[in-house]
Structures are given as C-alpha cells and as structure tokens.
C-alpha cells in the first residue's frame, strides 16, 4: 500500500495540508474519523490526525496538521512524491450528524480542520450554520473561505485583533447562546483549553455540545488505552469510544495534563530535530535522496 504525498501546501506559519494516497482509508472514511500516521516504519512515532477530506475516486485523503513536534515537523519537511510509512484508518466513530435546527460550530486554530467536514455534513443535513472561527492572529487563521461557503453566518475572532473581532471565541459564542431562540446544538473543536471554556459557556445556556478530542494515542484501535479521558467520572477511550463526546461530561483539566505528559521529552526531540535537520529519522532511501541532491 502506497502512501505518497500527492500535493502539499503551507496554510500558515506552522500549519500544513497534504493530499495523500490512501485508497482503503478513502473508501471507508466518513466525516469525524481520523487516521494514525507514521513517517518512519522502524523508529517513527504513531500520531492521530483527523481526516480533513477524502476523495474515494482518486483514493486520497487530505490531512491538516500543525508543526508542534518532531513528527509533525518531519511531515512538514516531506515533499510531493515522498511516502509516509503508515496511514491507518479510518479510525474512531463518524461524527453524529442529524438535523438539529440551528447549529453553532466553533473552531479554534488547527481545530478548524476537523470541524470543516463535520460542518459540511451538518449543512447538507439541513441545519442553519453559525460558524465562529478563532485564531491567535490573522496569519494563523485557516479555512475561512471554505467555512464562508457553508455558513449562514460567520464570525471570526483573533486574540490580537489583527483580523475580525478582537476576542476569544467564547465571547461571540456566549452572544449566540443568548439569542432567542438559542442554538439547538453546538460543536466545538480546537485546543483542549478552548473546548473547555466553550463547554462552560454552552453548559450555562444548556446547549448540547459535541467536542472532538485529539489525545495521545499509540495503536488507535482500543488496545493501549493511552488516549483515555475521564468522561462522566468514568474512563473512556477516545480512539474507540470517540473522538466525539458530549463536551459537558469531559474532564478537560485532566485531559490537558495527560496531553502534556511527555512535553519535556517531546520538546527536546523537536529541538534536536530542528538543529540537526530533516535527515535524522527519515528512511535511508530518503536520506540517500537528500544526499544526492
């Protein structure tokens, strides 16, 4: 099975997208699902990435990722024609889509990527879509045009006010919740801390809220339990029970701590990679190519 990079684009300073050959995954994928990828079969780490789009005819999937550590940096350094060592999936359950009525979709940073296919399906199902997109600054905002096409109303916020409203997403979210009638359903996808505060807002107004979680995983099939969260006081596995959950029942504080479990090690590995360039950790074949160039 070949997992060649068909095309690749930089969306912002640290956010990239690529179309990757993955025939089996494309055939089975549905919005809300994810894949586990690895860039090096022998020593690579396995990381989950949401399927941002898929094309069954072409047999490709699109991934959007943020360069935050070694593996995502390696992926960003790969070129069209390079091959990923593994693309496994589609994993997790598809997003729960139905006609709710008015749905407010909140995306933060890289969370816009997994939010887009879900919003698209919600629109198709006949919902009125209010989208709120947040980013730290204008340069980091992604997929605005794509959301504009499918939203009945689009609100953009930036932390620094360089674009749209100078606010956090929770501010317009609160205002939307205050409207009469209030939205029937909310979806919030983004950094854990953003989802946490969005859920606090929607809980106050009793607006059911789905979140999509991206915890640390190894196998992605339920075997290791590394991705588990505390949900309604009980452990749940994000990979097989999720990734979508009722956000009002998720213990975000614990989840945030678990997400940071390897922070020091990950930072060191990333620093080392940045210093020593992209040859380290790549397959020998790739290293040879680099050298020949």
């Amino acid at each position: 099975m070949s997992h060649k990079i068909i095309s690749k684009k930089q969306l912002s300073e640290n956010v990239f997208t690529a179309e990757i050959g993955a025939r089996f995954v494309a055939e089975a994928a549905r919005p809300g699902q994810f894949v586990i990828i690895s860039v090096n079969a022998e020593f690579g780490e396995r990381i989950p990435l949401t399927i941002a789009a898929f094309d069954r005819q072409k047999g490709t999937i699109s991934l959007i990722w943020q360069r935050v550590g070694k593996t995502t940096a390696q992926l960003a350094d790969m070129k069209v024609g390079d091959e990923l060592a593994a693309v496994t999936g589609p994993l997790g359950n598809p997003a729960h889509i139905e006609k709710f009525g008015t749905v407010v979709c909140v995306g933060g940073g890289i969370g816009n990527a997994p939010l887009l296919p879900i919003t698209r399906e919600l629109k198709k199902a006949g919902n009125t879509i209010i989208t709120i997109l947040g980013a730290r600054s204008k340069d980091l905002l992604i997929l605005e045009d794509e959301f504009a096409k499918i939203s009945d109303e689009l609100i953009v916020t930036t932390d620094d006010g360089s674009y749209g409203r100078k606010a956090l997403v929770t501010e317009p979210l609160k205002q939307v919740c205050q409207r009469a009638p209030k939205p029937d359903q909310a979806f919030a996808i983004g950094p854990a801390v953003m989802m946490k505060f969005c859920c606090e807002v929607t809980k106050e107004f009793n607006v059911p809220t789905q979140v999509s979680l991206n915890t640390i995983m190894v196998d992605g099939t339920g075997m290791c339990g590394g991705c588990r969260i505390e949900y309604d006081g009980k452990p749940k596995f994000v990979c097989v029970d999720g990734p979508e959950f009722d956000g009002h029942k998720v213990n975000f504080d614990l989840m945030i701590k678990r997400l940071n479990a390897y922070k020091n090690q990950e930072e060191k590995a990333y620093e080392h990679y940045k210093k020593h360039g992209c040859k380290i950790g790549l397959d020998k074949k790739d290293t040879d190519k680099e050298i020949k160039k």
């Binding site: 089975a28 079969a41 780490e45 339920g222 590394g226 097989v240 701590k257 060191k268 590995a269």
Partner: protein, 499 residues
C-alpha cells in the same frame, strides 16, 4: 572449561551405558538438572537483550538423558498441542537435533517461541514423572529449554514448508500473532492464496508489541514472518479489519473465500478505582507497546516514541504481562519497581522462571495486596498508591482461594508511575461491524471444535476466542482452524467444479 570436559565425559559414559541397555532409572535420577546460562541480573537490567541464553549442546543432551522414556509419556498429555515430547527428547539425547526439530514441527510451528514463553511448569513439565518422583515440578525434565535448544540449533534456511499447486481460493487471515501465523502457514501449504491483514505497521502481534525483547527476541519472530513471505503469503499492514474493511466486505467485495480471525485479546482492563486516569498511569498494553514495538527505550537516540521517565513504579497484577512490564520499567531506568498482587506467590499465573528472574533483578513483591486508589499531586501526576492488604478465603470458581480485603489495612507506596496489568477484554471492533457473527457475553467469538464461527467460511482462534491465554493455545487453534478451512475450501472447489 574443566566443568564442561567433566560434563562431556559424563554424557559419553551415560550414552555408552544406554547403548548397552544398562542405564537404570536410578542413574537417570542422579543426573543433575542442567542450569541454563543467563545474563547476570546486575548486568541485564541495563540492557534489553535476552536474559536466558540457552543450553550448550552438552547441557541439552545431559538434560535429555534425565528423561525416563516413560511408556505412557504423561508429558504429551500435558501439552496443549500434543507434541511427541518423549521422542523429540530421545532424539536430542542422541544428538540428532534435526530429527528432534522435525518431531516438534509435526505439531508446533513455532518451537523457538514456545520454548521460551510456554508455561511449561503447568503443562508438560507438570506431568513429568521425574518431577513427580522428587515431588518438585522444578526437578522435571526441562522440556521447554530443550525445545528452545533444538529450535535455535537445528533450524536451517531450507525449512520453508512446501506449497501445493494453486487452488484459486483466497484466504484472509486477520491479525498476525501466533494463531494467525500458523493458520496462514497451513492454509498456504494447501495452495490457497493467503493474505494477512495486520492493524499495526509490524507483524507478529503480541510477540512484537507485548512480549519484551529480553524474553523473546524480535529476530525470532521476524524469521517466522520471513518464512511466510517466502511461502508466498501476502501481507497488508496498517489495515484494521472492522474499520478499514469489514469481514463481509472482504468476503463479498474482495472475494475472500474463507477468513481466519486471530485478532487477539484487545482492550486493557482497568480497576475502576479513583485516580486511574492520572498522568503516569498506564495499561500494561500501552507501556509494553511503547517499549517493545515502538522502542521507547531508544527515545532520543533514534526512536521517536516517548515513555515516562519513572523513578518508582508500581505494577498491578501477577501474570506474565505484569512481570514483563515491571522488568521493562527497570530496563528503562526506574530505580525501584514494586509488583502488587492480590493473591499469594503460588497463585501468580506468571511462569516460574519469570518470577525468579524478576526477584533476581530486585523487583519488590507486595503480595496479598491490591490498590484502593491512586493518589495524584497538584499537577494530577501520580504520587502514590494506597493499597489494602488481603487474606485468602474459600476457593472461587477458578479453583484458587479468593482474596478478601482486610478492613483498615490501608498502606501507601510512593510511586510516580502505575502500570495496570490485570488482563484484557475482547476488542469490540469486529463485533460492532459483523452482525452475523456470534459472540459470547464476554465479547469472545463463539466457535465449534473446528474453530468454525457462526458465519459460513469464517473461522477464529486465539485470545479472541479463549480470552487471554497462551501462545501455544492460540497456535493450536490456528492449526485446527486451518485444517477446517482447507476442508471447507476443498468442498467449495468440488461444488464449483460440478456447476
């Protein structure tokens, strides 16, 4: 050197006597059990290389001379796949290791694996007359070590099984653990077009993600995978049956005529106690997958998968997986590792040899104790476990005396990592996507004596059928299922030709 010469002399003397028909049982009893060389504990906790190094040739033959050649060969009844133990041991004593290996291979495809990981003391060696004579299973003939010796020393490049002429029938084997390897080999032998689907990026199942290198070197498993490839078995990694494709799709769309499901045990069990999701709490599955499959012990010097840099670790459980996790933690650099088990040592399901090795390596056992809660610090990171002491009551349904907690017996152990190794439950991925397949109430697949499931053409074996069990049992079922699949496909071909 001197000792070795002595041993050689002794062996020659015994063989001569045997040849003359003069070797008595009493003399066989006098031969001391051979001690398998192993890495010194202080040294081995700093590396991941294999602990047990295997018998020398003289040792193996001397150990084999201890066998009484019992007419009724009780050892064979103790073996889940009925290897002709007596005969392979005789061949080993005679120095004909090739013959010994061929005898084993009639019933077991993976002797190098089983010789290392089978719980011999509860199987063949439990039944051994020599052990019974001394009223000590530890004195039984070391059948497992002999199996290992023969596999390590007599295996040659040409031992790739022959493949019959192509039948045009397609077999899908799901998973690549011991059951699947055997099922794939035996169905391929019959000339079918066999494809293995594996969810991970590497093949071998529990033998590569679970059992650590220091107990079962990956190269041994890889050799078995290479043999499959040489036989023409196709391999598709990174393919999750139940997600990427369902079993029905494999059969109806992709044209597989038969399926073997050997997906293993699945989901880790947790204890359902306070603090189990704190940072620093692992399932043994996760801990071992990170260390073995993902090589986290090389993090920073090649491998990219991190693992907790633990100082003090508590492992909960008393099986092989618990001991593997405890010993892996030592090798990653933990200063202190505790094993917390709610029953007594005699009731630990782990192999005796592994318990001994763990003790030699300095793992501290807290027996008759079990965690009540895991305590976290302000960063939600594990800082201690609180345990209760237990005593043994009346035997339960497993026949073992039931552990009962003692009220008010709480005590704390300061640790920064907790590894939960109390077993697994069946993974629901296939159950959720295969409505026509019958499962029992624990989520295990229901099969008949031929490992046939409720779906036509679908067979299953190993932990997904039995619940967490052993490599040898999975292998045995792989063989039974393969024979049934071969029969089924024979009928299918006949029907096809008639029409």
């Amino acid at each position: 050197m001197v000792a070795e010469k002595e041993e050689e002399k002794l062996l020659k003397h015994l063989l001569d006597k045997q040849k003359r028909g003069e070797l008595t049982a009493a003399e066989r009893y006098e031969i001391l059990p051979q001690q398998m060389p192993q890495q010194a504990p202080a040294e081995r906790v700093h590396n991941v290389s294999e602990v047990a190094l295997g018998f020398t040739e003289t040792q193996a033959r001397l150990e084999a001379m201890r066998c009484l050649q019992c007419k009724n060969a009780p050892c064979i009844k103790g073996c889940p796949v009925q290897i002709r133990i007596k005969d392979f041991v005789t061949a080993t004593a005679e120095g004909d290791f090739k013959k010994a290996l061929n005898i084993i291979k009639e019933n077991s495809l993976l002797p190098a694996v089983c010789g290392r990981v089978c719980p011999q003391e509860t199987q063949c060696q439990l039944e051994c007359t020599v052990g019974k004579k001394f009223r000590d299973t530890g004195m039984a003939v070391s059948i497992g070590r002999l199996e290992r010796f023969v596999a390590d020393n007599a295996e040659t490049e040409d031992s790739v099984p022959a493949v019959a002429a192509a039948t045009g029938m397609k077999v899908a084997v799901i998973g690549s653990g011991p059951g699947s390897i055997v099922a794939a080999t035996d169905t391929r032998r019959a000339g079918h077009d066999v494809t293995i689907f594996e969810a991970f990026h590497k093949l071998g199942g529990v033998m590569v993600y679970g059992i650590p290198e220091f107990r079962l070197p990956k190269s041994i498993v890889q050799k078995e995978i290479d043999t499959l490839i040489k036989m023409g078995v196709k391999i598709i990694p990174n393919f999750v049956v139940g997600k990427t494709r369902t079993i029905e799709q494999l059969m109806n769309k992709d044209g597989y005529d038969a399926v073997f499901i050997g997906v293993g045990a699945g989901l880790p069990k947790f204890m359902d106690i306070e603090g189990e999701s704190l940072v620093g709490v692992y399932s043994a599955n996760e801990y071992l997958t990170r260390t073995n499959l993902m090589k986290a012990y090389q993090f920073g010097s090649g491998a990219d998968t991190p693992i907790a840099r633990s100082r003090k670790v508590a492992v909960i459980g008393g099986g092989n997986v618990a001991l593997d996790a405890a010993r892996a933690a030592l090798r990653i650099g933990a200063e202190k590792v505790y094993l917390v088990y709610r029953r007594a040592e005699e009731q630990m399901p782990a192999r005796v040899e592994e318990i001994q090795h763990a003790k030699e390596e300095g793992i501290e056992f807290h027996l008759l104790a079990s965690p009540k809660r895991i305590i976290g610090d302000e960063n939600l990171h594990v800082k201690a476990i609180e345990c209760l002491r237990y005593e043994l009551g009346e035997p339960d349904e497993s026949g073992r005396r039931r552990p009962i907690s003692i009220e008010g017996s709480e005590f704390q152990i300061d640790v920064d990592t907790v590894i939960v190794a109390i077993g697994s439950i069946a993974n629901p991925l296939i159950r959720k996507t295969t409505p026509n397949l019958e499962f029992n109430k624990w989520g295990n697949i229901v099969v008949d004596e031929n490992c046939k499931t409720s779906m036509e053409g679908v067979y299953a074996g190993g932990d997904i059928v039995t619940g967490s069990a052993t490599v040898i049992l999975a292998m045995g079922q792989g063989r039974i299922a393969a024979a049934a699949i071969n029969e089924y496909l024979k009928r299918k071909i006949r029907t096809k030709n008639k029409n």
